[in-house]
Symmetry: C2
Subunit: 310 residues, 2 copies
C-alpha cells in the first residue's frame, strides 16, 4: 500500500509503534492490570479487547509518538497518550458501526462489535473506551507534570466532542438525506471534524508532550490540519478505486449510501489534485521547524497517507 | 418528599444549587458559548439540551458544591465541575434508556431522547455529554491549578468507567438473566458501581476542589460511599412503594424486569433497616471532620436521600 520501499525507516518505525501500542493496549486492558480495582464484568472487558486489539496501522498513535520524538520525548508516558487516542478512534468505530448509525456488519473482515456480541454491549464498549481514554491520559503515569496532562485531556475532549469528531459524524449522517450538504465546502467542513480533528490532535499531543515552543506548535498544527484533510480525501478516492478494481464500475460503498464525499463533490481528478496538494502543504508546514528538528518521518507520513489511494 | 420543613436551609440550598446548575448548563450548551469553535450541527445541540436541561434535583452537583463549600471553595469553577458530573449522569440516562438497553419510553414524564429524536441522535448525544464533561472539567476556567483539574478528570473517569458506572450497568443488564446475580452481596456490588461511584465522586470532587487534607478526604470518602449505597436502596424501596400505592400490589417495575434489587434480595423490612443504617453511617462519617467544618447540610443530604422512600 505504501510507496516507500519495504524496510524503509518509515515502514520500520510504523510497525514498531504499532507493535508497542498493541502491547500497551493489551496490558492496559488486561484483567491483571485492572484486578486491583472493583472487579469488572468479564464479558464487557472481552468485548472491549475485541474492539481495540489486533488491528490497524495505528496511524494516530504513530503521529503522537513521532511528533513527541522530534523534541526528545519518548517512553511509556508518550505511548500511553498515544494508546488513549487509539481508544477514542476504536470507540468511534464501534459506535459508528451500530445499526442505528452506519449499520455495518464487518470491520477489517471481522464481525463488528454489535454482531460479535450484541448491541447493548457495543454501546457500552464504546462508552468504556471513551471514558478509559481520559483515565489513561489524566493518570500521572502519562506525564509527571499535571499541566501537560490537563492540556492533553482538554485538547482530546475538544477533538473528540461535538465540535470535532462527534459533530462530524452527525453531519455525515445528515448528509445522507440532504443534497445541500454535498457541496465541496460542506464536505470539507464535515471531514475536518469527523476524521481531521483526531488526526490533528495526535500531532498536537506530540507537541504538548514534547513541550514544543509556540512556533513549532503552529507549524505542527498546520501539518496536522493538512494531513487530516489529505487522509480523508485519500479515503474517498480509495473507496471509489477499490470498487473500480473489484467491480469495474465507479460507484463505491460511499456512493451507494449517498455519503458526502469529496470525489462526488469535486470529481475524481480534482480530488486527486487536492489530496496531493494537501500532502505537499503538510510537508511544507514542517519546513518552518528549527533545523535541529529532523521531521523526515512526519514528511514520509504525509506521503504515506496520500499514497494509500494511488 | 423531604422530611425537612419546607423552606429549611437544606431545601433552600438544594433549590439554589439546582437553579445555578441549570443556568450554567444552559450557558455551557448555548450556541452563543459554542459559536467561536467549529459550528456544530444544530439538531445535535438541541437534542443535547433536551437531554440535560430542565430536570431533576441535581443531587450530584449539590454534593460537589456543598462539599467544596465546607472548605471555603465556591464560585464558577466549583459549579463547572458540578455541571460536568451532571452531564455524565445525563449521558448515562440517555444511553441506559436506549432500546438495546433498558428500552424506556419515558423519563420524568417526557419522551426519552431516542423517542423525541431518534436512536442515532441519542447515542451521539450521550457520547457528546460524556466527552464535554471532560472538556469542562479540564478547562482552566474550572480551576487555575492544573493538578486539581487533572485529579478531577482522573477521579471522574474512574467513577464513570468500566470499574464504576458502566461496569455496574453491565452487571445490571446481566442480572436480568442470571439469578446468581441477585444475592445481596452481588446486588450491593452492582449498586456501588452503577450509582454509588458517581455519587461518591461528587463528594470527592468537592474535597479535591476544597483542597481538603487526607483526614477530611477519608471522612468524606466514607460519607460518599455510605450515601451512594443508601441512595440506591432507597430507590429500590421507592420502586416497590410507589407501585404499592398506585396498584395495590408489591411488584414494581424492577420486579417485572427481573432487575436485581436489594428489596428482592433482602426483603422490604431488611432493606429499610439497611437504608437507615447507611444514612446513619454517612452522618457519623462526618463527625471526624474538624470542628471548624459545619457539615450540617451534608448530614441533611443523607437524611434527604434516605427519606425519599419513606
Amino acid at each position: 500500500m505504501t510507496q516507500g520501499a519495504a524496510g524503509s525507516e518509515f515502514d520500520v518505525r510504523l510497525k514498531a509503534v504499532a507493535g508497542a501500542i498493541e502491547t500497551l493496549l493489551d496490558r492496559l486492558l488486561s484483567p491483571a492490570t485492572l484486578a486491583g480495582e472493583i472487579a469488572r464484568p468479564p464479558r464487557l472487558l472481552e468485548a472491549i479487547r475485541y474492539s481495540s486489539l489486533g488491528g490497524g496501522k495505528r496511524l494516530r498513535p504513530f503521529l503522537v509518538v513521532e511528533t513527541a520524538r522530534l523534541f526528545g520525548a519518548e517512553g511509556e508516558g508518550v505511548l500511553r497518550a498515544a494508546a488513549a487516542v487509539e481508544m477514542i478512534h476504536c470507540y468511534s468505530l464501534v459506535h459508528d458501526d451500530l445499526p442505528a448509525l452506519d449499520n455495518d456488519d464487518l470491520r477489517r473482515g471481522r464481525p463488528t462489535t454489535h454482531n460479535a456480541y450484541d448491541e447493548a454491549t457495543a454501546i457500552l464498549v464504546g462508552d468504556s473506551l471513551l471514558t478509559y481514554a481520559f483515565d489513561v491520559t489524566a493518570d500521572p503515569l502519562t506525564h509527571a507534570d499535571p499541566a501537560i496532562r490537563a492540556e492533553l485531556v482538554l485538547a482530546l475532549a475538544r477533538a473528540a466532542g461535538f465540535g470535532g469528531m462527534i459533530g462530524g459524524q452527525v453531519l455525515d449522517l445528515e448528509a445522507e438525506h440532504a443534497r445541500e450538504a454535498h457541496t465541496p465546502e460542506a464536505v470539507i467542513r464535515l471531514q475536518s471534524m469527523k476524521t481531521g480533528a483526531l488526526l490533528h490532535y495526535s500531532v498536537v499531543a506530540g507537541a504538548i508532550l514534547g513541550k514544543a515552543d509556540a512556533k513549532a506548535r503552529a507549524a505542527l498544527s498546520a501539518y496536522g490540519h493538512a494531513l487530516g484533510a489529505a487522509f480523508q480525501v485519500a479515503d474517498d478516492i480509495l473507496d471509489v478505486e477499490a470498487d473500480e478494481a473489484v467491480l469495474g464500475k465507479r460507484a463505491g460503498k460511499d456512493a451507494e449510501r449517498n455519503k458526502a464525499t469529496l470525489v462526488a463533490a469535486l470529481g475524481l481528478e480534482a480530488a486527486r489534485l487536492r489530496r496531493d496538494r494537501l500532502a505537499a502543504e503538510a510537508i511544507a508546514a514542517l519546513d518552518s521547524l528549527s533545523q535541529g528538528c529532523d521531521a523526515s518521518i512526519l514528511k514520509e507520513a504525509a506521503r504515506f497517507v496520500a499514497a494509500r489511494a494511488s
